[in-house]
C-alpha cells in the first residue's frame, strides 16, 4: 500500500529533475531544505531521522541532490523526504515536505482491535513493516 503523506504523494513519484525544481523553489523562497529518512511509515511518526544538517546557506538545489544521492546509497530501501523549513519570524515551521524515495515494497497497515470494558472497542493502525526489527524491514 502506497503511503500518502506530505505534498505530491498522490502523484506518481517525482523524477530527480522535478525534485530539483521543487527544491530550488524552496531555496528561492529562503527556506532551509534538509533530508530525513525513516523505516517506520506510520502517519503519526512525525520525527524522522535527519540526514545531515538543514542546509541554510546553499543557493543551489544541486547541493541537496548531492546529499540525496548519498542518502539513497545508504538508505535507498527506506522512506526519504525533503523538508523545507521557513525560519522567518512568525512561521518558524516546515513549509513544505514531500517524499522523494520509497522502499520497493510497501506492505501497508493492519487494523488492530482492542476489546475494552462494556463491549467498547479501540482501533489502531500498525504498519506491517515494523513487525520486523529495525534494520531488516524492507530487506
Amino acid at each position: 500500500m502506497r503511503i500518502t503523506q506530505g505534498a505530491f504523494s498522490f502523484l506518481p513519484d517525482l523524477t530527480d529533475e522535478q525534485i530539483t525544481k521543487q527544491v530550488q523553489y524552496c531555496i528561492d523562497n529562503g527556506w532551509a531544505v534538509s533530508l530525513e529518512f525513516t523505516d517506520d511509515p506510520h502517519p503519526r511518526n512525525t520525527y524522522w531521522e535527519m540526514w545531515g544538517h538543514p542546509m541554510f546557506d546553499n543557493p543551489d538545489a544541486a547541493a541537496l541532490m548531492y546529499e540525496l544521492a548519498e542518502c539513497r546509497k545508504v538508505y535507498g530501501d527506506q522512506y526519504i523526504r525533503v523538508v523545507a523549513f521557513d525560519a522567518t519570524h512568525g512561521w518558524e515551521s516546515v513549509r513544505l515536505s514531500f517524499i522523494v524515495n520509497r522502499p520497493k515494497e510497501e506492505p501497508g497497515f493492519r487494523l488492530a482491535r482492542q476489546e475494552m470494558d462494556g463491549r467498547n472497542q479501540r482501533y489502531t493502525t500498525i504498519s506491517y513493516a515494523v513487525d520486523k526489527p529495525a534494520g531488516s524491514r524492507y530487506a
Binding site: P59, A61, A62, Y66
Partner: protein
C-alpha cells in the same frame, strides 16, 4: 574586439547566429567590462575570450541538435602575487553564469582552512559543506598547494583533495573549480597530484604587470576613490613604480594599492598639519608630489628590513 575571435571559430556558417547570441547573452558586456576595467593581462583576456567563444559555440550546437558535451571548465590560475587572479575569478563566475553554464553565478572563495579539518573525520564533512555551498557557482581555492603537505603523511589535506577530485569529476555540471596560486608552487602541487592536472582543462598564467600598466592601475584605483594626481605627483608615482619593482615583497597591483593607501594617509596628514583654512573638494582629492615622495621606497627600501633591499 572580441567579435573577431568569435567569428573566427570553425562554424563560420553560423556566424550571424553566434554574433546575435553573443550580443543577447550579455557576454559582450562582460568582455567589454573586462577590457575596460582590467589593465594589461592580454593572455588572460585572450583565454577568457576563447573560452567564451567555445561556450557560445557549444550552446549553438546544442540548439541545433548537434552532438555536444559540457566542456570541462575547471581552471587553474597561476601568477605572482597581485596579478588579479581573484578579480578575474569573480568575472569568470559572472561570465559563466551569463552563458548559462552555472546556474547561480556566485563565487565561493576558500583557502586550506575552510576545507581541511582539525581532527580525524572532520575534513570530509567540512569539504562537502563548502562544495555544496559552491554548487551552482564557482569554487575558488586560493593558494591551493597548501592542501597538499608532503612533509606530513598524516595531513588531512589529502582527504580534502580526494573529495574535491571526486566532486570535480562527478558533478561537473554543478560547479566550476578554480585553483589559484604562485606558478612554481602550483607546478609542484600538480606534479604530486596528477589527478588534478588531468581534471583541469584550462591553465591560465597571469603575467606580471609592466611599469606602465601598474601606473594605469594606480590611476584607475584613485579614480574609483575620487582622488586625482597632480602632474608632479604622477611623475613621482612613475618613478615609484620603477623603484618599487626592484625591492623586496613586490606584489604588483597589491603593492600599488598599499602605496596609494599610504599616500592618502600622508595627504590627510599634510592637509591637517598645513591648517590652511577652508578646503574645497579639489584640495581634498588632490594627491601631491610630497605625499608620494615621502615613501621610504625612494630612500632605498623598507626601513625595518635588516638586510638591504634586493
Amino acid at each position: 574586439m572580441s567579435d573577431v575571435s568569435t567569428e573566427d571559430r570553425p562554424e563560420t556558417a553560423q556566424a550571424v547566429d553566434l554574433h546575435k547570441e553573443f550580443e543577447s547573452s550579455g557576454v559582450k558586456a562582460v568582455l567589454e567590462d573586462l577590457d575596460a576595467t582590467l589593465i594589461g593581462l592580454a593572455p588572460v583576456k585572450q583565454r577568457i575570450r576563447e573560452t567564451a567563444a567555445l561556450l557560445l559555440v557549444e550552446r549553438a550546437r546544442k540548439q541545433m541538435g548537434l552532438a555536444h558535451e559540457t566542456p570541462t571548465l575547471h581552471m587553474s590560475f597561476t601568477g605572482n602575487p597581485g596579478t588579479g587572479k581573484t578579480t578575474v575569478a569573480l568575472r569568470m563566475a559572472d561570465l559563466l553564469h551569463r552563458l548559462g553554464y552555472i546556474r547561480k553565478g556566485h563565487l565561493v572563495s576558500v583557502t586550506r582552512d575552510d576545507l581541511v579539518g582539525q581532527y580525524i573525520g572532520h575534513t570530509a564533512p567540512k569539504t562537502k559543506e563548502i562544495l555544496k555551498k559552491a554548487m551552482g557557482g564557482v569554487l575558488f581555492i586560493d593558494e591551493a598547494y597548501y592542501l597538499y603537505r608532503p612533509e606530513n603523511e598524516r595531513d588531512y589535506g589529502q582527504e580534502a583533495i580526494e573529495i574535491l577530485l571526486q566532486v570535480m569529476e562527478n558533478n561537473r555540471d554543478d560547479l566550476v573549480v578554480i585553483l589559484a596560486g604562485y606558478g612554481d608552487r602550483m607546478e609542484k602541487f600538480f606534479e604530486s597530484n596528477p589527478g588534478f592536472r588531468s581534471r583541469i582543462a584550462h591553465h591560465i598564467d597571469f603575467p606580471d604587470y609592466s611599469d606602465d600598466e601598474l601606473f594605469h592601475i594606480a590611476e584607475l584605483m584613485l579614480r574609483d576613490l575620487n582622488y586625482t594626481l597632480t602632474p608632479a605627483a604622477a611623475t613621482a608615482l612613475k618613478e615609484y613604480v620603477a623603484l618599487r619593482r626592484r625591492q623586496r615583497h613586490f606584489a604588483n597591483a597589491r603593492s600599488m594599492r598599499n602605496a596609494l593607501d599610504r599616500a592618502r594617509l600622508r595627504q590627510a596628514n599634510r592637509l591637517f598639519q598645513a591648517n590652511a583654512g577652508p578646503l574645497d573638494a579639489e584640495a581634498l582629492s588632490a594627491i601631491d608630489e610630497p605625499d608620494i615622495r615621502a615613501s621610504r621606497v625612494f630612500r632605498g627600501g623598507l626601513d625595518s628590513d635588516p638586510e638591504p633591499a634586493a
